[in-house]
């Protein structure tokens, strides 16, 4: 681990403050000096809301004005980032910077530029990284940071306050057992809950990992070798989900990511897990529903602490880039307060940043309903828990092993033991030497 000279870090802070004091928009001294005649290509996921892209483009323009480095940004659907990143990794050509997801950088860590200086600098400047951010960004194998964490699209339980009150719950449940009680009561009142059990890459994975972990279950042990998914806590989690499934609206077995949004906004369900997108869509198109919406973190089960999963994004630089310094400066610039603050604000907190200081952004308190999203990264574990991030954890997530285990036990009617055994079988293959 390389140490960042204190001078440099202080220099950042002073530079920014000076810039602001002098009322200049962006004449900040670059910390990483871009190469001569540098130009950059960034591949990132489409903003979930249009304002994300607008602000990102505006910030990028500021960067170009400040450093003279042109940046071309390619936006594609978040799921399509993977094949293109895979190609770039394989071919040694393509974008300089990728904003990818989850374990992506750990799949080809040897092809990535060491970004410890950027990551540690930002961490020191902005209150430190959440633990899970470090897990995702730092590679134990390479012994340095291989990616700069950006943040996650945090999910919370989204629910209709009037209906939960009607079901007898003035306070939102804090334990899974109470959540189940609520679900039963809601169903009795004709407002069932709904959680995705189809191959919904975001929603489906997020809640099923939460439920597995909250009962103390996990896919793999810390040694990244021993498969733990068929142990007792998993079976308990599955039994719980089987009961919860009985309270859900029919059809969740086919739900992909957009389904719960639509069902919620149509009033077909009273409660689901989602990012803040339902709320903002409601504010725009269905104000009465928006009034009635509120959010809560996921309940905490026997394991005794928060164990959520959110879609985690990070920026990494390929070694084939001709302008690694420019790339580092770009990432640093975009995640600095003058850029990142307005960016998070404009997207209404859709992405929760991975740096702790951004908890202070006004967007989290301007609308109190957004506050639960603020601490989502703090409540998170990485998807490959308890093993290391990497190719195997990525494979396990991409193949919906945890999700399918729950789907097998509910939609497909398998017994908990059989469903867990099937998951274990596949995990053994994935995690074999």
């Amino acid at each position: 681990m390389r140490k960042i000279p204190r001078r440099t870090v202080l220099g950042w802070g002073l530079g920014v403050a000076a810039g602001r004091a002098l009322g200049q928009a962006a004449k900040v001294e670059p910390v990483f000096k871009p190469e001569k005649d540098a130009s950059l290509r960034l591949l990132r996921w489409s903003g979930f809301v249009k304002s994300d892209e607008e602000l990102w483009n505006a910030n990028t323009k500021k960067f170009t004005e400040a450093t003279g480095v042109p940046v071309s940004v390619e936006y594609i659907t978040w799921e399509d980032v993977r094949p293109k990143a895979a190609l770039a990794a394989n071919l040694g050509t393509g974008p300089d910077i990728i904003m990818g997801w989850y374990d992506d950088p750990h799949i080809y860590p040897q092809k990535l530029v060491d970004v410890s200086d950027v990551a540690e600098g930002l961490g020191k400047q902005l209150g430190g990284w959440y633990d899970v951010a470090r897990t995702y960004g730092y590679s134990n194998r390479m012994r340095h940071w291989i990616a700069v964490p950006v943040g996650g699209t945090v999910e919370c339980l989204t629910y209709r306050t009037s209906w939960t009150k009607e079901a007898g719950f003035d306070e939102f449940p804090r334990s899974p057992a109470d959540l189940l009680k609520l679900a039963r009561a809601l169903k009795a009142k004709g407002h069932p809950v709904g959680f995705a059990l189809g191959h919904a890459v975001g929603d489906g994975n997020n809640w099923t990992h939460w439920v597995l972990w909250t009962f103390g279950g996990k896919a793999v042990e810390k040694d990244s070798k021993t498969i733990a998914i068929a142990q007792k806590p998993s079976l308990e989690a599955i039994a719980y989900v089987q009961e919860l499934y009985a309270q859900m609206v029919p059809g969740v077995g086919s739900w992909l990511d957009p389904n719960n949004n639509r069902a919620f906004l149509a009033g077909e369900i009273s409660l689901t897990n989602n990012g803040i997108s339902i709320y903002y869509a409601a504010k725009k198109d269905f104000p009465q529903i928006a009034e009635d919406i509120n959010h809560s973190p996921f309940p905490i089960g026997p394991v005794g602490r928060a164990t959520e999963l959110a879609n985690f994004s990070q920026a990494f630089i390929f070694k084939h880039s001709r302008f690694p310094n420019a790339a580092k400066e770009y990432i640093r610039f975009m995640l600095s307060p003058d850029q990142a603050g307005p960016w998070v604000d404009a997207m209404n907190g859709y992405v929760t940043p991975a740096l702790k200081q951004y908890q202070d952004l006004p967007v989290w308190t301007k609308d109190p309903k957004a506050t639960p999203f603020r601490d989502g990264i703090a409540r998170m574990q990485h998807n490959g828990y308890a093993g290391e991030p990497g190719q195997q954890a990525a494979a396990a997530l991409a193949e919906f092993i945890v999700l399918d285990m729950f789907a097998d036990a509910t939609v497909n009617g398998m017994s908990a033991k059989d469903a867990a055994a099937r998951a274990e079988n596949r995990l053994r293959r994935i995690y074999r030497g």
Partner: protein, 273 residues
Amino acid sequence: MRRLLSIWLPLLAFALFLLFPFYWMVLTSIKPNEELVSVTANPFWVAHPTLDHIKYLLSSTSYPRWFWNTMAVASAATALSISVSFSAAVALARLRFRGSEGVSLGIYLAYLIPPAILFIPLAEVMLKLGWFDRLWALVPVYSTFLVPFCTWLLVGYLKSIPRELEEAAMVDGASRVRIILEIILPLSAPGLISAFIFCFTLSWNEYLYALVFMSSPAHKTVPVGLATELVRGDIYQWGPLMAGALFGSLPVAVLYFFFVEHYVAGMSGALKG
């Protein structure tokens, strides 16, 4: 009465089955968002039709550009594939030579590794050739899955054409090349037109290669552009998406409408001889 049973009733049945999704797509293109999300509203009707989605599609996305790109690539890929396939088909169907069976067999192997996996090794080849992010590079790439199919299709047609005309011409002393150009080619018109339609459709339809091999937004094709820019995470912009799909289907539909006549013209011409 006979026509009712043999034409109109079955036609209507097919029309219902084949066109009902389009009815939905058209409605969606002009339905405002509130109606789209409502479970109770009548899905077969629009209460307050709007042109907003179409306006959005044409002004806030690069749809016109994608349209142009797709047209250009599809046309060129079709032209290339048909010429290449026709030549090969004539050789396989009409000329006897050693190894023709091996070649025919080999053509199936083209589909052995589907694009969903092939794109990675193929990308390496593209890279070495310097063809990355060049829109026209899609033309030969598309031909890799168009040519095998078209070759076989044209072989099928050519084998259905009676040999008498060619044999007569050979007796008259015509060269093989003349026979190909003056007899086989015109007689293959219906087959060529089908091949044309398939090629054009399959090119227009292609998603993965266009997604992966093109980087600049200016090089996107219609399917890629629509699927990547009108789908944001878990929010689909159904109105503009369906409008884009409908406009994107017009070229091929129009093309086919105009070529229908040529089937008949080509045939009756050939039969007069």
